[in-house]
Structures are given as C-alpha cells and as structure tokens.
Symmetry: C2
Amino acid sequence: MKLTVVGLGPGAGEDLTGRARRAIEEADLVVGYTAYIALIRDQFPDKEMRSTGMKKEVDRCRMAVEAAAGGKNVAVVCSGDSGVYGMAGLIYEVSREFPPIDIEVVPGITAACGGAAVLGAPLTHDFAVISLSDLLTPWEKIEKRLAAAAEADFVICLYNPRSHSRSDYLRRACDILLTHGKSPDTVCGFVQNIGREGERAVTCSLKALRDNEDVDMFTTVFIGNSQTELIGGRMVTPRGYLQREENGK
Amino acid sequence: MKLTVVGLGPGAGEDLTGRARRAIEEADLVVGYTAYIALIRDQFPDKEMRSTGMKKEVDRCRMAVEAAAGGKNVAVVCSGDSGVYGMAGLIYEVSREFPPIDIEVVPGITAACGGAAVLGAPLTHDFAVISLSDLLTPWEKIEKRLAAAAEADFVICLYNPRSHSRSDYLRRACDILLTHGKSPDTVCGFVQNIGREGERAVTCSLKALRDNEDVDMFTTVFIGNSQTELIGGRMVTPRGYLQREENGK
C-alpha cells in the first residue's frame, strides 16, 4: 500500500540518513539496481530484495509499484538522492498505470554534495547540475545547457561524464565551456567512487580536465566559477563574506 | 586540531546522516548560527555549543578555526548541506589566517533535495540552483543566471527567494524567467519550513508564483522545465525513461 523511494547517499554507508535507514527497515520488499542492492545487502541481511540490471528502470519501477498496489510496503533504493536523476520521477509516472498508492520520497546525499565535500567547497555559490548522458536527452539540449551555464558563470557539476560508448563527451563538454566564456585556468576537480572503496579526488585546470583520461562513469566532475580557487589543495568557491568584510561593508 | 563542517539536513531531524551525528558527538565544541544550534540543542544536551547571530558568519568561522587551531575538536553546523551556500567555503578561506588544521566537510541534505522530495520529483533532470539574495552577489549577476537558466530550459531551484528588505525579488525573478522563455504555465512549487514544524508545500503555475505573497525567507522555490508536469498533485520532471519506451527504443 506504500512505496518509498529512498536515496542511499554516495555509498550507502555513514552518509545514509536516519529516515532512509528506517524506510528500508520497515519495508517488506526492497527493489533496486543490482549495484545498489549490493551496497546495502549486508546491512539488512534478512530483508527481501529484488534487483534488476541497467536499462531496466521502467520494469523495476513497475514491479515496485505493482507490489505496493498489491498491499506490500516497498522501498525502491537509488544511489545518491532519489530525486536527482533517480527513480522518484519514474515511480510517479509509472504509478498512473496502477491503482492509487501512497508514495513518499526520502532524499539522500546526491553526488554533487557528496563529491563537493570531498573536494572542499566548490558549490558555495550558484551552480548547475548537468548529466552528459545522451541516452535520454538529445545532445543538442545538453550542449545548450553547458553553453548557458558557462556564459552565466555558474559552478557546474557534471553527472555521467563518460562511458564506454561516450568516451569523448567530457572533452566535447569542456570545449563548449571554453568556447562560452570559461577560462582554461578555471579551477576544476573530480571525484571517483564517492563514499566507496577507491574514493579518489583530483583537482586540475579546465584545460587539463579536457585532456584527462581518468574520468569514468563512476566520476562526478566539478568546474568552478570565475572566483573558484585552490586553498591548501582544496577547491573552494567563495560566497563573498570575506570579500564584503575586506570592502568594509 | 580538527574542524568538521557539518550539514544538518533540512530540519536536523531524521534527515541527519550517521556521519553528521557522529561528528557532533565527537566534537568538544559545536559552533553555529543561533537558529541551527536551537535545532540540535535537545539532541546533544551535554555538548558545549556557541552560537552567533545573522551576518556574523566571518566571526563565527574565525572563532571555530581558532578553537581548532588551539587543539579542540570543533564542529561547525549548517542547515541543509554545509557546502551549498553553507560555511564550508568560508571556513577554508578563514583557515588561511591561522596555523594549519585538519578540515573535513560532512555533507547534508540541501534544501533543493529536501524540498524536491516533499513536492514529488522536480529535480529528475538538469537543474540550476540560484540564490536571490543580493547581500553578497550583485543583482545583475543573479539576473544573468536566471536568464541563462530559463533559456536553456533548466529546472530552477531558488534559495533565499524573499526577505523583508527584498519583498519584490521573487516577482522580479519570475519576470526575468518569463521574458527568457519560461512559459507562464510552467509547473512550479514551493516548500516552507522543510523538515520542520509548519512544513507546507504548494504547487502552482509560474504566472501564479509571480504574484504569490506566501513565499518567505524560509521557503525554497522550484520552477519546472518545459516537461515538468503534475501527477496526482505532485511536481514531476520526467527523466525520459517512459518516453523512450513509448517510442519503442
């Protein structure tokens, strides 16, 4: 009768919220992508769990809504936040095909926030979050968003920056940013495997990011705004408090 | 010797992460804005806490870094995420004035994710986060970002949409969005007091949002993209999975 869409945070470990933990504990059935179920399997050993592979998002959500409509308390788990490129939207869309159920979305730490914390404080000013995956979005739309974000000097956070079939997308994205006003010296950073084994953070210039070959599908990328700087190796975007003080306001 | 910048999530309640809770428990001293200290006072009754008022951000961060440099384990608490318009950036900036200390940023659920979960799933596609406060940012820059985000069809999340001294800012922002390509019928929503007493969510059109008088400084505002729709009263931005299936791909 109830379906909860739960964000697990970056690694489903210490960054899991109390509400997310309770939602999983109270569920009769937990549904998720295979890799995310693997993250929580050991923490909830007695729980009934069902996983499906990549590109099976619609099937997975239908299975979950159907089970909830049939009387179960179901938790659908997502990495990071359940609402940021997560399953929350699709669950609502799919729910229209079934009798009404009660849906609750439980937020989690999304990779933008989790990765930013590893790098320092890159998101302390206005930012744009853009996925480079064109599986569901025309590349022209992605290009337009990259250009607009660069021209308005947003900090930019990129999800899905690269995959096997999209090996040159990050380079193409960087070229668009460079053409639309971002300096080649813009402070950038990326984090792999946020909150998981193998977590690794790198800072570099936009010019160097363009030619970097380490970024993979488990990486979140950050491009600073014109004020972003490195402080003791950390990527920091000033909010303006100190600058206001220096100006005597 | 150590300073942790901790995001409390929207209400410092069930959306607090395990890592944030541990950071506060392990701290010798907790420092924060008066209203945020009040949120956690009862949960950590024996903890030494120091609070300062609004616009005292620089003093507060200096006090915290100084205490850490003096040998204490200090936690600086922020509402939402510590890195999204939070104190993480300023802590790094201020730390340059003191002997080196170990700084860790602990992310929290930011209002964009917390509010989105209350409204449904508005952030399931590319989005821009913009603060309407011009205390630290020239209004011209904010205008430029609003225009760019509208033109590129981002979902937009607005922080600090209104204050006593900025009573017409949300209206001005909506006018910019309308001038730069957002339809008056764009699905919008706002949430007041996310995760706290008095939590209240409202959905409306962009046209209606422009003339809304309920939005206050404790409100987070969401403006959909051209695909955002209402499903059973919830604000949902499709990611495109179902549309792909319908197109037989």
